[in-house]
């Protein structure tokens, strides 16, 4: 059992996602950084997509009610267990009564806290992950609060391990996000597309404060629609990572909470860079770089 003492700015229970029901609008809602989630579970001897806590912000803190192994991955944080300093991306053993606190987020945005045991929570529509908007899944369909207690079963002892530095991704801005062509790239002027995808040092966007698990709105030079193009499309199936551009021309990176969309999509983030989207925070600079589908596949296949 663990007890939440402070939820940070926000923390929720996530897993690999809820698949197979997008036909009736049920989004996948997975951990935004799936590499961090699978590394976490690897450290703890769990199955790769086992549930964990996704959090952001400082002061996240919990008390261990039983002895258990624990680890933090994702954003690089400075944490402490009863005052003893801890690093992220390595496991550690906690004793009953000890308190873990995340003191500082040094690089990246979202971090993942997991345990060498299974959280006792209800599976909803095949998954443990939280759908915050519709309030189901996860811990009672909501973000964690002070005093929430999560029981753990099948607690196993595992050896303390760390993920080698080479396998920890870099999360510092400026972020270069590789993209592939989207279905409506011909809705925009050539000049505007060239600027949008201009690559290093040319056009940059800034992550705005309008950012949540549904999408990330960017500020910068608006994209220009061609004069003969509509500013919206007939709503249709939307892939996570799609860049949608509404009438004001400012791109929104769509994450995993919407199954249909009605805005033009000039490009989508290559799957290999989806995990990085978890670490975009307000003010970060973003540069897009267009790559071909073959390269995108190669990068993604190397990751899985």
């Amino acid at each position: 059992m663990i007890e939440i003492i402070h939820p940070g700015i926000m923390s929720i229970v996530v897993d690999g996602g809820r698949y197979g029901y997008r036909e009736v609008g049920i989004p996948t809602s997975p951990a935004l950084d799936l590499y961090a989630l699978s590394s976490l579970n690897h450290l703890l001897g769990n199955e790769g997509n086992a549930p964990a806590i996704e959090a952001f912000g400082e002061k996240f803190s919990l008390r261990f009610v039983k002895d258990v192994c624990c680890a933090i991955t994702g954003a690089k944080v400075r944490a402490s267990l009863e005052g003893r300093p801890l690093q992220s991306w390595m496991s550690f053993t906690a004793r009953a009564g000890e308190i873990l606190t995340v003191d500082e987020v040094r690089e990246g945005f979202r971090y993942y806290v997991g345990f060498s045991g299974s959280p006792v929570i209800e599976k909803i529509i095949g998954s443990y992950t939280t759908n915050l908007e519709c309030r189901f899944g996860g811990y009672r369909g909501r973000a964690l609060q002070k005093g929430d207690r999560i029981d753990l079963e099948d607690i196993r002892r595992v050896d303390v391990k760390r993920i080698a530095e080479d396998f920890i991704p870099r999360m510092t801005p400026p972020h270069t996000l590789r993209v592939v062509e989207g279905p409506e790239n011909n809705y925009f002027t050539d000049e505007s597309l060239a600027e949008f995808l201009g690559g290093r040092g040319r056009t940059a966007f800034t992550v705005s404060t309008k950012l949540n698990r549904t999408g990330i709105r960017l500020d910068g030079k608006p994209l220009a629609f061609r004069t003969d193009a509509e500013e919206s499309i007939i709503s249709e199936g939307l892939l996570p990572g799609s860049i949608q551009v509404p009438g004001d021309g400012l791109p929104i990176i769509q994450l995993h909470e919407r199954t249909l969309g009605g805005y033009a999509r000039p490009a989508l983030i290559a799957k290999a860079d989806h995990d990085l989207l978890a670490h975009l925070k307000p003010g970060d600079v973003v540069i897009f770089e267009m790559i071909g589908m073959e390269e995108a596949e190669r990068l993604f296949d190397r990751k899985i």
Partner: protein
Amino acid sequence: MNISRYGEEGIRILFGEKIDLEIHEKVRRYYFFLKSLQLKEITDIIPSFRSCLIIFERKRTSYEALAASLRDKEFLIAHIDIPESKTHDVPVEYGGESGFDIDFVASHTGLSEDEIVEIHTSVTYKVFAVGFMPGFPYLGILDQRLHVPRLETPRLKVPEGSVGLAQLQTGIYPFESPAGWRIIGRTKKKLFDYNKEPYSIFQIGDKVRFIRA
């Protein structure tokens, strides 16, 4: 039928360029055809007005292999059983606090509240798509006389069960949620239940009749 690629794991199949019952029927047939194949490499299918989006696993197949296999099996479409579509009656309390935009719709269209309700309840709608949020039905085709624009700035919250209009569509919000459609009423009917299958009472191709409560 036009097959194209959308991202590493998507296949987009287009059946036409507009909102149209015939085009939509092709989408629906193709959706049930895909379901009948029960392919493990397909994780999700998202049918909508004029397209089916297929999401597949790169670990199990490639775009080229899956697209080719779908083309090979296409002839089967004529031989599969398409389930009968269900008809749902949805009682709605129109106007007042439940339908707080009905005055806007009246002034925009020049119709009285009674005329709006009369027109809205006189059509049997088709469920063109379910999505954006769990269980939300995109219903059409709305009578031209009720054509209203979306809100320029969506509201942060409308209550569960709100019935809205946008352009030639009408829809129902299964959850309290942000909304850009014009709200003319509210239903108490439960549209989505995460505890039991089918989670959404609506499925693509179903029919919906609104009844004044």
